[in-house]
């Protein structure tokens, strides 16, 4: 076989207190789609940052087509033919597609020429995109296309993609995969980072699995089962959440023609959402990010006030009540953004326990705070939910994502909610913590609480929901029993692919 395009040899990078990469070696062949697998914190990001010239390795060598490859900056990496699509987009909402693309290029051509080039590339690779549209108006999938096209215009030899499908509908994933296969057939190599195993099995030719900064295995994803790969990734056998089948009870939460104007100018307003949630039931709400998830959570948590009758809890109208009045009645919520929304980053865990626990846990009397009680509540959360931290006096931001998420979810669950609303409960959380959180949610439903789980992780929703509905541009689809739903049906509920009709792939 030919020489490898990129060869990594013993790459090591240590940060204070943690070795992010420890002697990582693997190689990528020309035209290969190579998967980099690993849990959050396994060192995937550090590794690709080294390849992309953002981070300098402490030890080890890289070579590109046999020649030494030591990019000092992303600029140097791009000059060597390496391009990267980040998980978080760096686009300006108020500029149009062509302007955004131009901003990321070394020598942007004239605007009209660029717009033509964008159209050419987008048609060649089946990525429909209008260069004149404002980025703020685009869906997440379309924004990703902007990033991809920006890379393709530079004619890369190696394209790095970091968790590209986390924001896409199943149909959009198909479009993306067509594009990637076409690139592959033209000889472009792709380094594909993900923890979605079925995707990797469908797309990749080889896979390298990282755990705690070390390579723990390589495999042919097409010949390895998803479960085997997952266990390599986690290092232990996986625990699948389980629960008894149970008939749902009385209607607890009811939304009737709920409409909310988004507080954010580029946000999505909710339009006539109707949903009932019964005691002991988990309703999963899917949908691509930015289709009204934040607004739905705000309308239920009480951060956004709505018409009083639009939301009822056990028959009582609560739409006009604020967050603490709703907590008092038993409607609790855990927002998606852990740092800065569900928790105050620089405050201690005790203070963060007080943040939402004040009302139901009786941590305040006559306006004065009961610090001792708040501390013991924080300690209970830490103990019951296995939050890894030296103690409740530590700042929220000192915790890892998974640990803080366990704290946030645990804080709400321990307050014995009548109804709990969570948004992205396991986003950015390692697999074992995610399983623990899902199990805790199921146990809560078992004990008679009504649950609304908003998530972009369809596997998670299928695993824990009784009924499933999807948000699409602020509208909620008719909920359907989750059992037996096919991926195609789910995809259509989520709104299918945006602008699918324009998509045509040559060859």
């Amino acid at each position: 076989m030919a020489d490898p395009l990129l060869k990594l040899d013993g790459l090591t990078k240590a940060y204070p207190g943690v070795v992010a990469n420890d002697g990582v070696s693997f190689q990528i062949m020309p035209g290969e789609v190579h998967a980099l697998l690993g849990e959050n914190g396994a060192g995937k990001s550090t590794l690709v940052k080294m390849i992309y010239g953002l981070v300098k390795p402490d030890a080890g060598k890289m070579s590109m087509r046999g020649a030494t490859y030591e990019p000092a900056t992303p600029h140097a990496a791009r000059a060597s033919g390496v391009a990267m699509v980040f998980q978080h987009f760096s686009l300006f909402d108020a500029l149009n597609v062509a302007e955004n693309v131009a901003l990321g290029m070394e020598n942007p051509p004239k605007p009209r020429q660029l717009a033509r080039r964008i159209r050419e590339v987008s048609e060649t690779y089946g990525l429909p995109l209008d260069p004149d549209r404002l980025v703020g108006d685009l869906s997440a999938g379309e924004r990703q296309r902007v990033e991809i096209i920006r890379c393709l215009l530079q004619d890369p030899k190696l394209l790095i993609m970091d968790e590209p499908t986390s924001v896409l509908t199943p149909q959009e994933v198909d479009i993306l995969f067509e594009t990637l296969r076409k690139l592959q057939s033209e000889g472009t190599s792709i380094l594909y980072i993900s923890h979605k195993l079925e995707e990797i099995r469908a797309l990749c030719d080889g896979a390298t699995i990282l755990r705690l900064g070390k390579v723990v295995g390589t495999c042919d994803p097409k010949a390895t089962s998803a479960r085997e790969m997952a266990e390599l990734m986690v290092g232990t056998a996986l625990h699948t959440p389980s629960r008894e089948e149970k008939a749902p009870g009385e209607v607890v939460l009811k939304m009737t023609d709920l409409s909310v104007k988004s507080a954010n100018p580029f946000g999505t307003s909710l339009k006539n959402v109707n949903l009932t949630v019964q005691a002991g039931e988990v309703v999963g709400i899917g949908g691509v990010a930015g289709n009204g998830q934040d607004e739905l959570l705000a309308a239920l948590s009480g951060e956004a006030r709505v018409a009083d009758a639009a939301v009822t809890l056990n028959g009582q109208p609560i739409g006009a009540l604020g967050p603490n009045a709703r907590r008092k009645l038993g409607l609790l919520a855990a927002p998606e953004e852990r740092l800065g929304h569900a928790a105050a980053p620089d405050m201690s865990l005790t203070e963060n326990a007080l943040l939402t626990g004040a009302v139901r846990e009786g941590l305040v009397s006559n306006g004065f705070l009961k610090w001792a009680d708040a501390k013991s509540f924080a300690e209970t959360i830490i103990e019951k939910f296995d939050v890894r931290t030296p103690g409740p006096e530590n700042a929220a931001r000192s915790l890892s994502g998974g640990n803080l998420q366990k704290f946030v979810i645990g804080r709400e669950i321990l307050q014995r909610p009548v109804c709990l609303v969570v948004n992205q409960p396991t986003w950015g959380v390692d697999a074992s913590a995610a399983a623990a959180i899902r199990q805790a949610l199921l146990d809560l439903a078992e004990n008679g609480a009504a649950l609304v789980v908003i998530s972009q992780d369809l596997d998670e929703l299928m695993e824990i929901s009784d009924r499933f509905a999807a948000l699409n541009e602020g509208r909620l689809s008719e909920p359907r029993p989750a059992k037996g739903l096919t991926v195609d049906e789910i995809g259509l509920m989520m709104g299918g692919a945006h602008d699918m009709e324009v998509a045509h792939v040559d060859g």
Binding site: K56, G302, N324
Partner: protein, 361 residues
């Protein structure tokens, strides 16, 4: 290359050390400034920091210390509550003036009645109310129309100054003052005077009020839900809303408290050390209190110490002007350096400095 690396937790040690470091840096840079002006830097620093406390005329200066520190602390405590919540009342000077006018007007209205038990408390209430009303203008404009409270409160300082001049020349002018601008002297009206409580200390009711404010603010911030809401709002506004804080109400409460305390400071000043409403009654306490609030790390006890320190630079500065012929602007620059260096070294609380080659992550 020098790099800043974010600490996982803010450093406790540095948050105590940075004010001291800032004072030291100010002494060095200020000394250099004085040297450029042709003065002996060591003598100048000594005149500012040492003479007022332990020098030949300390008996006079020490009394001045509490007179100056009282209003600074009182105003800064109020400001610090808003600053903690990200509500920027920059117009304490105006609220201070309005408090003085309201309070003095009430006192003068009763002249020459002698019922001190009635008049002095009424003046205190009126003083606090005057500052409160003036602070409500930016507060309500912010909550109703989302105007910027920094600009509105600052510009209202200049309105208050004009109002002060018109009062001193018109409505409140001393009818027996042969047409000179300025009101009757409240110091000479026993029912309304805010005199020295212990002879020779300079302590008047304003100083007492400042101490009470320090204690109450400490309890509020550490033990009370309102204080907790103030802190959460400052740390993370979105988390605060999630926790049920009503942001508009908090703006009104914080502006109201800071305005009321600034008004109180104005009243105690006009009925005490200043004695009368005059065109140039205000002397910048409202602005200096901003420095005091930050120098004290927005912490009540810190503000108490910072107020004393700033009062010292005021008094020492005056001594340096008198004895060494330093220009007043140099002293103001010196005080400004203090805030500048404090903000600059503040970064050490949240970041640590790494020296050596590194990458941009």
């Amino acid at each position: 290359m020098i790099r800043l690396e974010k600490r996982p937790q803010p450093s406790k040690a540095w948050s105590y050390a940075t004010p001291l470091l800032a004072v030291l840096l100010t002494m060095v840079a200020g000394g250099a400034l004085f040297a450029i002006l042709g003065k002996d830097p060591l003598l100048a620093i000594r005149t500012i920091f040492w003479e007022p406390l332990f020098g030949e005329f300390a008996w006079y200066y020490r009394g001045q210390l509490l007179i100056k520190a009282g209003p600074l602390v009182l105003i800064a405590i109020g400001l610090s509550l808003g600053f903690r919540a990200g509500i920027w009342n920059i117009g304490a000077e105006g609220q201070y003036i309005m408090g003085a006018i309201f309070g003095a007007a009430v006192g003068l209205a009763f002249y020459p009645m002698e019922a001190r038990w009635l008049i002095f408390p009424l003046m205190i209430i009126a003083g606090a109310f005057g500052g409160f009303v003036w602070a409500m203008i930016p507060a309500l404009l912010k909550t109703k129309f989302n105007t910027n409270e920094i600009l509105v409160s600052l510009l209202l300082v200049y309105v208050a100054e004009q109002f002060l001049a018109s009062m001193a020349l018109g409505l409140l002018r001393n009818p027996e003052g042969s047409g000179f601008p300025g009101s009757r002297n409240l110091q000479q009206y026993p029912a309304a005077a805010n005199g020295e409580l212990i002879a020779g200390t300079g302590l008047h009711w304003g100083g007492v009020a400042a101490l009470i404010a320090v204690i109450l603010a400490y309890i509020l911030l550490n033990r009370h839900m309102l204080g907790f809401q103030i802190r959460v709002t400052g740390e993370s506004p979105r988390a605060a809303r999630f926790a049920g804080v009503k942001p508009n109400l908090l703006v009104v409460v914080c502006m109201g408290i800071s305005g009321g305390l600034a008004g109180l400071a104005g009243l105690f000043e006009v009925a005490g050390p200043a004695g009368q409403i005059s065109i140039d009654f205000n002397s910048g306490y409202g602005f200096t209190a901003i420095i005091v609030a930050f120098l004290g790390r927005l912490h009540p006890v810190g503000i108490l110490l910072a107020g004393l320190l700033l009062a010292l630079t005021y008094i020492g500065g005056e001594a340096a002007q008198a004895n060494l012929g330093l220009p007043a602007a140099a002293i103001q620059a010196f005080q400004g350096m203090l805030l500048f260096f404090l903000l600059a070294v503040d970064v050490l609380t949240n970041f640590r400095v790494r020296i050596g080659k590194g990458e941009m992550a």
